[in-house]
Subunit: 208 residues, 2 copies
Amino acid sequence: MNPAFMKLDLDKQKNIMEAAMREFAENGYEKASTNRIVKEAGIGKGTLFYYFKNKEDLYHYVLNACLDNVFDELLAKVDTTETDFIERLKQIAQVKAAYHLEYPYDLSLLGSAFLQDDAPIPEDARQKYEKMIRLQETIIYDNIDHSVFRSDLDPEKAFRLIQWTLYGYQEELTQRLKQQDLSSIDLTPYWEEFYGYIDELKKVFYHV
Amino acid sequence: MNPAFMKLDLDKQKNIMEAAMREFAENGYEKASTNRIVKEAGIGKGTLFYYFKNKEDLYHYVLNACLDNVFDELLAKVDTTETDFIERLKQIAQVKAAYHLEYPYDLSLLGSAFLQDDAPIPEDARQKYEKMIRLQETIIYDNIDHSVFRSDLDPEKAFRLIQWTLYGYQEELTQRLKQQDLSSIDLTPYWEEFYGYIDELKKVFYHV
DNA sequence: ACTATAATTGACCATAGTGGTCAGGAGATA
DNA sequence: TATCTCCTGACCACTATGGTCAATTATAGT
């Protein structure tokens, strides 16, 4: 990466980054097209290769930026002093949603990058990713009060059941909201719905 | 489609169909490559275009075959006399797993086909798909006994929570088993694990 | 055995897309 | 005026695209 890239208007930087992230996330490394990236970013072909020496260089830069950003803007913002498991997951969902609005392609890029076989992933990125996975683990489970679960339940199983539920809900919601511009829509009713289900979950998994 | 295709050895037919399904499912209509399809199917390029007049013709044929197959081999096999909701979903999971082993690409092709914008979908296929969705609905909810749920729960909410849970579990499992040849692996321990969670679900959602 | 027909092939086609280059232009600074 | 950074798109060699077709082989009917 040409260091001059850092001196660009932040807007232009962001344009290029977002175009690249989206293209890589949607098509994978091999099938991603630098032509589409420059068109989407509104820059000339030469400009892209002026700042990045080739496709792989761009991919690595984008990947590292995502990883760093997830650490600073996502994982760091979760309040791990909350000891109620369901409340903790609720909070994570909120932080994640805010993150997704600001950086729409980060998470889907990371998701695709490390599950592909054709993507050239540098060692440091792989390590950062594994560190991220471990940190995620502690963010979800650390400092959780196990005593609130119904005594006839295996807490481990309860953990996972609750997580799957919220994951399933999230998937359905993204399906429902697909194709819509999330930043221009009022999400309040969806949050209300979500809180309703959260309450129901507490009702069934916690003792009275 | 050239009617002669129907007279081929079933093996050869299946080879071609599976190769096409997989290519379409993984890449979408536009990005799917007929070259890769013939290579995967082990036939000459000319043969493919002898049986199908072009890429779109092949796509339509494959799509319709999937739809018909899902009706006959999947939806028809669910026992809707089972009135216990969780048992019903458990049974659906079993039927679906068996289906997936026999026809590995049907479901993922249908999933991708109707969520893409570049796929040319003929009217009759679209209608068949919508009929399928409606039938799916009745298969899940029809003839279900609402009285087994805890009386302090909204049954509608409980329905959805349970469904999301199983969906989330299924997603995690497919992640875990990805890249493995499902037909050569002993799935028994996974089913045992699944039944364990099923029991736990009954414990929390049904009244004692 | 001969013939007619059906099945199958891969070299070939025009076209479009690939990642990447580079001579040159524009604008600022010295 | 000269030098430097930023930026461009025409252009390159190359690969892949969907689709064709003359030629070959297998099958069947007589």
